[in-house]
């Protein structure tokens, strides 16, 4: 069965996670890297977390500043991210000649 296409925004988020696959990422940092606004980014994170592809944890900060939520991909999430990015790159490679031919 053909795997449904993942949204381009989600791909950008997964790509950003894969730059430091085992590291924890802050939401604002992901937003800057992917150029996604909070209103787009967080629903993606919520869906990934719901599907157990992402884990989240709270990190204490200095006094007077609210704690921060940090995220990293689970092993399943990493596998999915790699597969999807690979597929996306393949599709891009296939499309390139067609595009260059106009």
């Amino acid at each position: 069965m053909k795997t449904p296409r993942i949204s381009p925004e989600t791909l950008r988020v997964l790509e950003s996670f894969l730059e430091r696959p085992t590291g924890w990422h802050y939401g604002y940092e992901l937003s800057r890297e992917t150029k996604l606004k909070s209103g787009t980014l967080y629903p993606i994170l919520m869906r990934l977390e719901k599907h157990k592809l992402l884990e989240a944890r709270w990190v204490a900060t200095q006094d007077g500043v609210p704690p921060r939520h940090t995220y990293r991909l689970t092993p399943d999430g990493l596998e999915l991210a790699r597969t999807q990015l690979e597929e996306a790159r393949s599709r891009w490679m296939v499309q390139q000649p067609a595009l260059s031919r106009g």
Binding site: T3, I6, T10, G39, R47, H51
Partner: protein, 396 residues
């Protein structure tokens, strides 16, 4: 200078959004709130807060629309691979829903009827429902003619603004069933300029000879026959009193009853509305606001004044009994109108006639040395006057 308030506004916005969000989504709201402190630039912080607030608001809205999901985290697009549903798309769907609901609102007959009721109060200004109502009445009249249905014909004739058409339809209805000849009076009240009224009156008088309404119609016909367009002439304009008009009004004041036939009209309404699926409430009501002829208000006052003046003349000549008879005729007719009144205007006319008559009767009784009767008449006059004031507090 204004940067700190911007960041504070952003924090407040997100705090509020977190409060309205469903419990399972609040953690994510807190996550966005936590990041807010690290967003560089106050305007960027505000934009961040707006984005976060929109997510929370969307979740709050969905939890309201789908109450069963209120306690759960909301994945409004069903799965990871489905496309992300943006707020814009959600708004578009909502707007489309509203447009569809609006179309349904105007398409369904009960809703069209509801709109008609809502606009009825503005009809005089907008003239919308009246025009629509007239075209619907014409359509109903055509169907009634095809079916040879006298009830449908009377229903339309009593409400159509076109006098000639109204006259034609009521004539046809009475030809089909002579028992509907009372409808002549209803049409005559609505269209006093119809020449056929002079032919209808004898038939009406033969069936209902004691009804003051027929005398009013007769008096108005005489008034109209006096000149080219006397009905347009102001009624307070001094003019000679036509003896025929005076005789008709005297007959009206001597009549023991007043029947505008609206009860009979209403009795056939229900059947007609059902048979023809007629659902324009304004058009239905338009036939029932002409019970007491509008011209009869002025005619009654004009005639009552002439009787009271005649009574005064008799009083001056020492004929107190003759004067009292004049005043009684006004009081009695005022009582008939008052007891049959459907509107404030009719009630006001009845009260005015009674007030004036009882004051004069009190005066006659006092002159005759009958202080008990004088006190009673003064009490009645004061009571009716008080009722008049309560009807129109600003009036004189």
């Amino acid at each position: 200078m204004q940067e700190m308030p911007l960041r504070q506004a952003a924090a407040l916005l997100l705090d509020y959004a977190i409060r309205i969000a469903p419990p399972a989504s609040r953690e994510w709201g807190q996550a966005m709130r936590g990041e807010l402190s690290f967003v560089e630039g106050h305007w960027a912080a505000l934009a961040w807060a707006f984005g976060g607030a929109s997510v929370m608001a969307k979740h709050a809205l969905i939890s309201l629309l789908i109450p069963g999901r209120r306690g759960q985290a909301i994945l409004y697009d069903g799965g990871l691979f489905a496309r992300n549903v943006s707020l814009r798309k959600a708004l578009q769907v909502t707007a489309a829903g509203f447009v569809l609901a609006t179309l349904l609102f105007f398409a369904a007959p009960p809703f069209r009827q509801a709109v008609g009721v809502s606009l009825a109060g503005w009809n005089e200004l907008l003239r919308i429902t009246g025009r629509n109502g007239q075209s619907r009445l014409q359509a109903l009249a055509k169907q009634a003619e095809k079916r040879r249905d006298p009830e449908g014909l009377v229903f339309a004739a009593a409400r159509l603004a076109d006098a000639r058409e109204s006259s034609r339809l009521v004539t046809e209805a009475v030809q089909l069933n002579p028992a509907f000849d009372w409808a002549y009076a209803v049409v005559a009240v609505r269209h006093p300029e119809i020449p056929e009224i002079l032919e209808w009156l004898p038939q009406l008088a033969g069936r209902d000879p004691q009804n003051a309404l027929l005398d009013f119609i007769s008096a108005e016909s005489i008034d109209i026959a006096e000149g080219t367009k006397p009905s347009r002439r102001p009624r307070w304009e001094p003019r000679e009193v036509n003896p025929a008009w005076q005789s008709a009004m005297a007959a009206a004041f001597a009549s023991p009853k007043f029947d505008d036939y609206l009860d009979r009209l209403r009795a056939l309404d229900a059947g007609v509305l059902r048979r023809y699926a007629f659902n324009d409430p304004y058009a239905v009501l338009s036939g029932e606001d002409e019970g007491f002829p509008s011209y009869a208000f002025a005619d009654c006052q004009r005639f009552a004044v002439s009787i009271l003046k005649a009574g005064k003349s008799l009083e001056a000549r020492g004929d107190r009994k003759g004067a009292a008879e004049k005043y009684w005729s006004v009081a009695r007719f005022g009582q008939i109108i008052d007891s049959r009144s459907r509107t404030d205007s009719e009630r006001l006319l009845g009260l005015t006639l009674q007030t004036e008559a009882y004051w004069q009767l009190g005066s006659v009784a006092l002159e005759g040395g009958n202080s008990n009767d004088a006190a009673l008449f003064a009490y009645l006059a004061a009571t009716f006057e008080q009722s008049m004031k309560s009807l129109c507090p600003g009036g004189t």
